[in-house]
C-alpha cells in the first residue's frame, strides 16, 4: 500500500472508533469527560515511560487506560463529595495534565516524548514505523493497534448493545433490573481511554476530542435511531479524516489540526441543513412537535 493509503486507512480507523464511542459519550452527557481523559492520558503515558523506559505501544496503551480510569474514578469521587460535576472534571484533569507536563519537563526531557507530539500527534510519521505480520506483510504499528482497538470496541459495544442502551437511557431502571450501572460506567470510560490513546499517535490527544464529539453530535441531528446514529457518526468520522488529510496536504499544514477542523465543517453543514433538527428546517417549520 502507498504512503497516503496507510495514512488514510489509519485516519479512517480513528474516525470509526471515535465515531462509535462518541455516540454513547454525548448521549451520556460525558463529552467533557473525553476532554479530561484526553489530557490526563498524558500522565499515564509519561509514568509508563518512566517505569519501563520504553515507548512501546502496549505499555503506553496500558498506562493511558489506567490514567483514564483513574481520572474517571477521581471525578466520580469528588462529585460524591459535593463538588459539581463540571467543576470536578476541571479540577482533576488540569492537575493530572500539569503533573504530566512537569514530569516530562523535569524527568523525561531528553526522551522522544514531548508534549507537542503527544498533544498534536503526527500522522505523517506513522507509515515509517512498521511491524511485519505473517501472511500479510509490513503494516504500521499504529494502524495495527487501531485495528485491534476497533475490534475491541465493536465487540464490547455489540455484545452489550442493549445494556449500553438501557444504562444510557434510564440508569434507574437498569439498576433495578440488576445491571451494574457503575461498573458499565467505568468500562465505558476505559473504552474511551483506550480509544483516545490508540488515536493518540495518529491525531494527538486534543484532536481525539474533536473526533469523539463532532461526528456523533452531527449524526444526532440526522437521525432518531440509535443504531443509525452510530453508523452515520462513523461515516462522518471517516469523511472528516479523509477531507482533513487532503486539506492539510493542500495547504501544507498540520494534518491532525486540519482533521479536527474538518469535523467542525461536517457539524456546521449538519447544523444548518439537517432535515429535522437543522437551522434551516427549524426556520421553515417551527418545531411544534417538541414538547
Amino acid at each position: 500500500m502507498t504512503y497516503s493509503a496507510w495514512i488514510l486507512l489509519t485516519a479512517s480507523l480513528v474516525g470509526i472508533s471515535c465515531g462509535i464511542v462518541g455516540v454513547f459519550l454525548i448521549l451520556r452527557r460525558m463529552a467533557m469527560m473525553a476532554d479530561a481523559i484526553s489530557h490526563s492520558v498524558l500522565l499515564g503515558i509519561v509514568v509508563a515511560y518512566l517505569l519501563t523506559q520504553s515507548l512501546s505501544g502496549i505499555h503506553m496503551l496500558i498506562g493511558a487506560a489506567l490514567a483514564g480510569v483513574f481520572t474517571t474514578f477521581l471525578v466520580q469521587w469528588l462529585h460524591s463529595n459535593n463538588v459539581q460535576h463540571e467543576a470536578s472534571i476541571g479540577v482533576v484533569f488540569t492537575i493530572l495534565f500539569a503533573l504530566g507536563v512537569i514530569l516530562i519537563a523535569t524527568k523525561a526531557g531528553n526522551a522522544h516524548l514531548d508534549v507537542q507530539h503527544a498533544l498534536m500527534g503526527e500522522i505523517a510519521f506513522i507509515p515509517w514505523n512498521t511491524v511485519e505480520i505473517p501472511m500479510f506483510g509490513d503494516m504500521p504499528v499504529a494502524t495495527l493497534i487501531l485495528l485491534l482497538v476497533l475490534a475491541i470496541i465493536i465487540l464490547i459495544i455489540g455484545l452489550f448493545y442493549k445494556e449500553w442502551k438501557i444504562t444510557t437511557f434510564d440508569s434507574a431502571l437498569a439498576a433495578s433490573i440488576g445491571i451494574p450501572v457503575l461498573g458499565m460506567h467505568y468500562l465505558f470510560m476505559t473504552l474511551v481511554s483506550v480509544t483516545t490513546v490508540a488515536a493518540f499517535d495518529a491525531v494527538g490527544a486534543i484532536m481525539v476530542v474533536a473526533m469523539l464529539i463532532a461526528p456523533a453530535a452531527s449524526a444526532y441531528l440526522w437521525t432518531d435511531n440509535l443504531f443509525k446514529m452510530i453508523v452515520i457518526s462513523s461515516i462522518f468520522g471517516i469523511l472528516s479524516a479523509i477531507a482533513g488529510y487532503y486539506f492539510a496536504v493542500w495547504i501544507d499544514s498540520s494534518i491532525s489540526g486540519s482533521m479536527a477542523f474538518a469535523t467542525g465543517i461536517v457539524f456546521f453543514i449538519s447544523f444548518i441543513f439537517s432535515p429535522r433538527h437543522g437551522l434551516l428546517s427549524n426556520k421553515i417549520r417551527p418545531s411544534t412537535m417538541k414538547s
Binding site: T94, I95, A98, I102, A217, L221, I251, G264
Partner: protein, 269 residues
C-alpha cells in the same frame, strides 16, 4: 465553559498575528478576545437551536477551534520570518517570555475586571443566586450575563500568556472550588479564592524559575491543586474530615433514636 473559551481563543491569537505580522501583545489579546467570544456565541446558538446538550456543544467548539488554531499555527510557522517564536507559549504558557509592556497591560486588565466585580457586587450575587428575582428588580439578566461573559473572556485572555490555553481553566476553577470548603459566605469565598489564585501564581512561578525551560503553567496548577487537596480534606466548612465527623454523629443519633417500636408508631391506626 472556561475550558472551551480558553481553547477557542487560540485561532484568534494566530489570526491576529497573521494579519498584523507582529507579536504585539495588545493586538494578540484583541484577537483572542474576539475568537473566544465567537466561540461562546456559537455554543449558545447550538444549545438553544438544537437538542444538543451544553457539554457536547462546549466540547465541540473547544476541539474544533483548537484544531483550527493548530492548522493556522503550522501555517504561520512555515511562513515564519523568525519572530513568530512565542506564539507557541500561548499553548503551554511561558510567563518568562513576557516583557514589561505585557505586564502593564495585564495589570490594567486585571484591575478592570476586579473593579467591575466590586462595583456590582450585590447585583452579581443576586444574579447568581436567584436570576428570576433579579429580573423582578429590573436588573437586565441578559446585559449582566453579557458583561460577565466579557470579563470572563478578558480574564482568560490575560491568563493565557502565563499558563497557556490548556491549563487556563484550572486557574478559573480550582481556587473557587477550594475556597468553598472554608466558608459559606459569598464575599469571603471570593476573597479567599483570589488569595488562593495569587498564592498559586506566586509560588508556582517561583518554582518554575528554578529549572531551565520549566513551564510556568503546570507548576501554578500543581500548587493550586495542592491547595485544593488541603481544602478538600481539612476545609473548615465542608472538608471531608468535618463531613465525616458530622455523618458519624448523625448515624449514632439515628441508632440512638431507634426507639421501642410502639412509641413511634403511636400514630398508626
Amino acid at each position: 465553559m472556561s475550558d472551551a473559551l480558553s481553547h477557542a481563543a487560540l485561532p484568534g491569537v494566530v489570526i491576529s498575528f497573521l494579519i498584523f505580522q507582529e507579536k504585539d501583545f495588545f493586538l494578540l489579546i484583541i484577537g483572542a478576545t474576539i475568537s473566544a467570544l465567537l466561540g461562546a456565541f456559537l455554543i449558545m446558538l447550538i444549545k438553544s437551536t438544537t437538542r444538543i446538550t451544553s457539554d457536547t456543544a462546549m466540547g465541540l467548539i473547544l476541539a474544533v477551534f483548537f484544531g483550527g488554531g493548530i492548522v493556522l499555527l503550522t501555517v504561520v510557522n512555515r511562513n515564519s520570518n523568525g519572530n513568530q517564536a512565542g506564539l507557541d507559549s500561548f499553548i503551554y504558557g511561558q510567563a518568562a517570555s513576557m516583557i514589561w509592556s505585557d505586564v502593564v497591560i495585564t495589570t490594567i486588565l486585571a484591575a478592570t475586571v476586579i473593579l467591575i466585580i466590586l462595583i456590582g457586587f450585590k447585583e452579581w450575587k443576586l444574579l447568581l443566586f436567584d436570576p428570576n428575582f433579579a429580573k423582578g428588580l429590573n436588573l437586565s439578566i441578559k446585559g449582566m450575563n453579557t458583561v460577565y461573559l466579557i470579563i470572563l473572556v478578558l480574564t482568560i485572555v490575560i491568563g493565557i500568556q502565563a499558563v497557556g490555553v490548556i491549563l487556563m481553566s484550572a486557574l478559573l476553577i480550582i481556587p473557587p472550588v477550594s475556597a468553598r470548603y472554608w466558608t459559606h459566605s459569598f464575599r469571603k469565598m471570593m476573597w479567599l479564592s483570589g488569595l488562593f489564585g495569587g498564592m498559586a501564581g506566586t509560588i508556582g512561578t517561583t518554582i518554575s524559575a528554578l529549572g531551565s525551560g520549566w513551564p510556568t503553567g503546570p507548576f501554578i496548577v500543581m500548587i493550586s491543586g495542592l491547595i485544593f487537596l488541603l481544602s478538600l480534606f481539612f476545609g473548615a466548612k465542608k472538608g471531608i474530615v468535618v463531613e465525616y465527623l458530622i455523618f458519624r454523629n448523625k448515624k449514632n443519633e439515628v441508632l440512638k433514636l431507634m426507639p421501642p417500636a410502639q412509641i413511634v408508631r403511636e400514630g398508626k391506626r
